[in-house]
């Protein structure tokens, strides 16, 4: 399935008929859904709907990450996400 994630076109290998936001987060190695906000086609999704929201061909998805301040108090999960992104 072709989707756009954070502005980049990606061809996702879908292993089931209905592919939810939670499934996508897993594929993208985001372990804690609490650490990311997801925008689907211009609308921010409520966290409680990640499981019941399914993505389809052509969707535009944005992962928005928490960012703190100059002290760098920030979860390590972020770097993992970025590394995973870069390796693909």
């Amino acid at each position: 399935m072709n989707v756009t994630i954070n502005g980049k076109n990606e061809n996702l290998e879908i292993n089931k008929e209905k592919f939810s936001i939670i499934d996508l987060l897993k594929v993208k190695d985001v372990e804690m859904p609490d650490m990311v906000s997801v925008e689907l086609n211009g609308t921010i999704l409520n966290r409680s709907t990640y499981e019941s929201t399914f993505i389809s061909e052509g969707d535009k998805i944005e992962f928005l990450y928490f960012m703190g301040g100059g002290s760098g108090k920030y979860p390590a999960a972020f770097e993992k996400i970025k590394t995973a992104d870069n390796n693909k």
Binding site: M35, I44, N46, R47, E62, G69, Y74, F78
Partner: protein, 271 residues
């Protein structure tokens, strides 16, 4: 007010811009801008606003200068280590521009004091380093109908949004503070000083545009950058009808300290 000859000369390079002019310079000199946090973001923001003649600059910070701050917090110098950040900031900025008034608050913002402090200002810049303060500033600005600039940085990344009454706010994007268990030790993170410099400068330009009523603000948008991979993105965002503070049926109607508790990690304790 009438600009003096000295002022006309000092600010000449921006007065000749159509978007500023003599009238705009007067607006800047009469403006009241509050910078919360005299650190990585607050330093460049305060420097440029002071230089531009932002006439009444409020700076709030309850910390003292630490040697590890100097890599990015350019308001402070080696001799300032151990001093209150607001004192060091005031001295630096007054040296740069004695034409302006620096108002300092040697304290941290909290649910009790923030509303009365921000009520004195036209525009607020969030230069804080923790999520508790970031959510508190957002909620206080939304509830008190104050325009403000949010900024967040990490390692090589930064992001910023501007909120004015009616536009999308920080909570439209991030509903609640990140969970406690997800915050690792400070030693795992880090940031490049130039990332703070870049973002703080953007925040200062938002304040100036707001005061001058010129150009387009970064409202209903999130600007994101990754300096390492030279990625710059402007993402359009919409006000979230379900936002707990600015949505159609908000659940947050007053500021309560318990809603902004976030584990504080202190690098020194981990050495």
């Amino acid at each position: 007010m009438n600009l003096t000859e000295d002022q006309i000369e000092r600010y000449s390079r921006q007065i000749i811009l159509d978007n500023v002019g003599g009238k705009g310079q007067e607006k800047l000199l009469q403006s009241r801008i509050l910078i919360i946090g005299a650190g990585g973001l607050g330093s460049p923001a305060a420097f440029y606003l002071a230089a531009a003649g932002a006439g009444n600059l409020g700076i709030i910070d309850g910390d003292e200068v630490d040697l590890s701050n100097l890599q990015r917090q350019i308001l402070h110098s080696t001799d300032d280590v151990g001093r209150a950040k607001v004192d060091s900031a005031k001295e630096t900025l007054e040296k740069l521009n004695p034409d302006i008034n620096i108002i300092t608050y040697n304290k941290r913002v909290n649910a009790q004091n923030i509303s009365s402090i921000i009520s004195e200002y036209d525009f607020i810049i969030d230069g804080t380093d923790n999520f508790g303060a970031k959510f508190l500033i957002n909620d206080a600005c939304v509830l008190n109908k104050k325009p403000y600039s949010h900024g967040g940085i990490l390692r090589f990344h930064g992001q910023t949004i501007t909120h004015v009454p009616g536009s999308a706010c920080y909570r439209c994007l991030f509903e609640t503070l990140p969970p406690k268990g997800a915050v690792p030790s400070c030693s795992e993170a880090g940031v490049l000083g130039v990332v703070a410099g870049f973002l703080g400068t953007l925040q200062a330009s938002e304040a100036m545009k707001y005061i001058l009523k010129t150009g387009e603000l970064l409202t209903d948008s999130l600007f994101y950058f990754d300096i390492l991979n030279t990625e710059f993105r402007l993402l359009k965002i919409k006000r979230n009808k379900n936002c707990p503070v600015c949505g159609d049926n908000p659940s947050i109607s007053k500021l309560e300290e318990k809603n902004y508790e976030q584990p504080v990690c202190d690098l020194k304790q981990q050495r």
